[in-house]
C-alpha cells in the first residue's frame, strides 16, 4: 500500500539502561492516510507519546530504535540532518499537552508564531505577521494583533493552546500529531480547543494522530482508533469503539464510568502483563 501518508512498520524502541534493556515500543505498526484521523488511546506509559516521538525522531539518543517509518514513501529513520529538518518544518506539526511549558516564555507570542516562517521559509516579517493574525482569527483568538505583542504568560492556557494550534497550521503540514492537546486545560477550554482543532483539520484536509485518554472524544473526532498496551497496538480499526474484540479493549471500554447510573465501586482492569503475555503465546 503506497497511498498511506504515514506508515509505521514494526517500530521498536529499546532503552539502554545500566542494568540491561527495557523495550518500551514493542513492534508498533500503524498507517494513516492523507486527511485521515487516527485516535491513539491507552493507559499512561503504554507508549503513545513515545510513538509520536519516534515519528518525529525526537526520541532521546539513549533509545535504540528499529523498524521502518515511512512518510510519503520516505524513510524517516534514514533521513540525513537536512532532510529531517525539512520533514519537521513542512510535513509534520506537533501540538503538545502543556502549551505553558512548550512555548518559550521569554519571547513574544508573535515571535513564536512567525519564527519558523521567517527563518526557514523566507517569508518577510510583515507578511508572516499578517498570516499569523489571520490564523489566530480563524482559531477564535480575539484581538489577534494585540496578542502578537503579548508574552505567553499573559495568555490563558486555552488561548495559548490555540496559539500552538495556529503555529502548527501556519507551517501547513500534512500531518498533525496532537499529544493530549487538551489534558492540561480546564474543562470549558477543552471542548473549545478540541472543536477548533477538529474543524481546522477537516477544513484543510490534514491527517491527524490524536493521542488521548478520552475514548468518547477520540471516537467522535477520529476515523479509526488504535489501542495501545505495553508498547504494542493491541487492536485498531473503525470498529474499536462500538465493537471491540480484544479482551483489553473490551475491559478498557467497560471501565468508563457512566453518567446514567450510580456504581458503588469503579471497575478495575484485570488485564495485566501476565494476561497479555499469555494471550500473545496463545495467538502465535
Amino acid at each position: 500500500m503506497t497511498d498511506h501518508l504515514l506508515r509505521l512498520d514494526d517500530v521498536r524502541a529499546t532503552l539502554r539502561l545500566r542494568d540491561g534493556e527495557q523495550t518500551l515500543l514493542n513492534g508498533v505498526s500503524l498507517e494513516i492516510g492523507a486527511g485521515e484521523a487516527l485516535g491513539l488511546v491507552g493507559e499512561s506509559g503504554s507508549g503513545k507519546s513515545l510513538t509520536t516521538r519516534a515519528i518525529t525522531r525526537m526520541l532521546d539518543p539513549a533509545f535504540r530504535v528499529s523498524g521502518e517509518i515511512l512518510f510519503d514513501g520516505a524513510s524517516v529513520p534514514r533521513m540525513n540532518a537536512q532532510a529531517l529538518r525539512r520533514y519537521r518544518q513542512r510535513d509534520v506539526g506537533m501540538i503538545f499537552q502543556d502549551p505553558r511549558a512548550h512555548v518559550n516564555p521569554v519571547h513574544r507570542v508573535g515571535d513564536f508564531l512567525t519564527e519558523a516562517l521567517v527563518r526557514d521559509r523566507g517569508v518577510d516579517r510583515r507578511t508572516a505577521e499578517r498570516r499569523a493574525v489571520a490564523l489566530l482569527d480563524e482559531v477564535g483568538v480575539r484581538n489577534p494583533e494585540h496578542r502578537l505583542r503579548q508574552y505567553p504568560h499573559e495568555l490563558s492556557g486555552g488561548l495559548l493552546q490555540r496559539v500552538m494550534i495556529a503555529s502548527v497550521l501556519l507551517a501547513e503540514p500534512k500531518l498533525i500529531l496532537a499529544d493530549e492537546p487538551t489534558t492540561a486545560l480546564d474543562v470549558t477550554a477543552q471542548s473549545d480547543v478540541m472543536a477548533i482543532l477538529d474543524e481546522q483539520r477537516r477544513a484543510r484536509g490534514l491527517a491527524l494522530l490524536f493521542i488521548t485518554h478520552d475514548l468518547e472524544l477520540a471516537a467522535a473526532c477520529c476515523d479509526r482508533l488504535a489501542v495501545m498496551y505495553a508498547g504494542e497496538i493491541v487492536e485498531q480499526g473503525a470498529h474499536v469503539y462500538d465493537a471491540p474484540t480484544h479482551p483489553y479493549t473490551i475491559e478498557l471500554l467497560g471501565a468508563r464510568p457512566s453518567i446514567d447510573h450510580r456504581v458503588e465501586r469503579l471497575p478495575v482492569l484485570r488485564y495485566d502483563r501476565a494476561a497479555h503475555e499469555l494471550l500473545k503465546t496463545e495467538a502465535s
Partner: protein, 316 residues
C-alpha cells in the same frame, strides 16, 4: 512598579547603604590601632607642641560622633576630605586614578563575559571530553590566585617574549590598552572560570526545557535554537553572576594593580590603609560601595529585559 518609583526606591536604598557603610568604616578606622600622627611626624616623633598642633589641625582629639558628623557634613557638600599623606584633596587623588581602575575592570569584565559564556556553552553543548577539559581548566583557573597568574603572565609575555610592558598604565588610547592587557587577563581568569561553570549548568538546564523540543520539532536550525531559545533563556543566572563579579572586580583589582604597579584605586586604598590615611580609605570604600550598588541596580533592570515575567521591584 513604575521605573520612576523603582529608581526612587533604589536611590533611597543606596543612600541608606552608604550611610551605614560610612559609619562602619569610620568606626573601624577609629578603633584601629595606630594614628596618622606617626606618619605625619616621622619615625622620630615630634615635640609635644608639634603633636598638639597636628592633633588640633586634624581634630584627632574630638569625640567620635563629632568627627563623624563633621566628616559627613563635608561629604554632603561634595568635599571628600584632605589626604594628610599626599597633602592633596582626596577627590583629586581619586579622580586621577579611577580611570585606570575603570579601564582595567571594563577590559576584565569583557574578557570574563566572552570567555566565560563561550567556554560554558561549549562545554554544555559538546559534552564528552570537551566538557571534561573545560571543567578541569575552570577548576584550575578558579583555584589559582590572581597574583600567581599575574607573575606568570609577566614572566612569559612581558619578560620572556617581550610582547607586553611589565608595569604602568600607559599614556592613553592604544598604549593604555596594551599596558592593561596582562593585568586584565590576570584579573579575569578566576571569574571567567566561575562564569563558565555557571553558564554550563544554566545552558544544560535550559537545553532540556520542553519549549526547546517544540523548537526542534518545528525544524528550526540548531544554531538558532541555541542562541534564541537556550542561551537567551540561560541569561538570568549568567547576568547575576556577571554583575556580582564586576562589582567585586573593583575591589579585587587591588592585588593585580600592585603586581603590575598600576596606579589605580586598589593600590591607592592599600597604601592609604598602611599609612592610616583615613580620609582616603573612607572615600575609596564609599566609591566601591556606590559602584557595587549601581552594578546591582543595572542587573535588576536587565532582568526585566531578559525575562518578561520578572517585574521591577517584585519579590517573585
Amino acid at each position: 512598579m513604575s521605573f520612576g518609583a523603582y529608581l526612587a526606591r533604589r536611590t533611597g536604598g543606596l543612600l541608606l547603604v552608604l550611610l551605614v557603610t560610612s559609619f562602619i568604616v569610620f568606626g573601624l578606622l577609629y578603633l584601629a590601632p595606630g594614628s596618622p600622627l606617626a606618619f605625619i611626624l616621622g619615625p622620630r616623633g615630634g615635640t609635644t607642641e608639634q603633636i598638639a598642633a597636628v592633633t588640633a589641625q586634624y581634630h584627632l582629639n574630638d569625640p567620635f560622633f563629632v568627627r563623624y558628623v563633621a566628616w559627613l557634613g563635608d561629604l554632603l557638600r561634595g568635599d571628600l576630605g584632605y589626604s594628610i599623606v599626599y597633602r592633596q584633596d582626596v577627590s583629586a587623588l581619586i579622580s586621577g586614578r579611577i580611570g585606570t581602575t575603570l579601564a582595567l575592570v571594563a577590559m576584565a569584565a569583557l574578557l570574563i563575559a566572552v570567555v566565560g559564556i563561550a567556554a560554558g556553552t561549549f562545554a554544555a553543548l559538546r559534552g564528552g571530553w570537551s566538557d571534561q577539559l573545560t571543567s578541569t581548566l575552570a577548576a584550575i583557573g578558579l583555584s589559582t590566585p590572581s597574583f600567581v597568574i599575574g607573575v606568570a603572565l609577566i614572566s612569559v609575555f612581558a619578560v620572556g617574549l617581550g610582547w607586553f610592558p611589565t608595569f604602568g598604565s600607559g599614556g592613553g588610547g592604544m598604549d593604555t590598552l596594551v599596558h592593561l592587557a596582562l593585568p586584565a587577563v590576570a584579573l579575569s581568569v578566576a571569574s571567567a572560570a566561575y562564569l563558565a561553570r555557571i553558564t554550563r549548568a544554566s545552558v544544560l538546564e535550559e537545553r532540556g526545557r520542553e519549549h526547546v523540543q517544540t523548537a526542534t520539532v518545528r525544524g528550526l536550525a540548531p544554531g538558532y535554537i541555541v542562541r534564541h531559545h537556550v542561551l537567551r533563556n540561560s541569561l538570568v543566572p549568567i547576568v547575576t553572576v556577571l554583575g556580582l563579579t564586576i562589582a567585586t572586580l573593583i575591589a579585587g583589582a587591588v592585588v593585580v594593580e600592585n603586581v603590575f604597579a598600576l596606579d589605580g584605586l586598589g593600590s591607592l586604598l592599600v597604601r592609604a590603609i598602611l599609612q592610616r590615611d583615613f580620609a582616603v580609605v573612607q572615600a575609596v570604600i564609599l566609591v566601591l560601595v556606590v559602584a557595587f550598588v549601581l552594578v546591582n541596580a543595572v542587573v535588576d533592570v536587565l532582568y526585566t529585559f531578559i525575562d518578561p515575567r520578572i517585574v521591577l521591584g517584585s519579590r517573585k
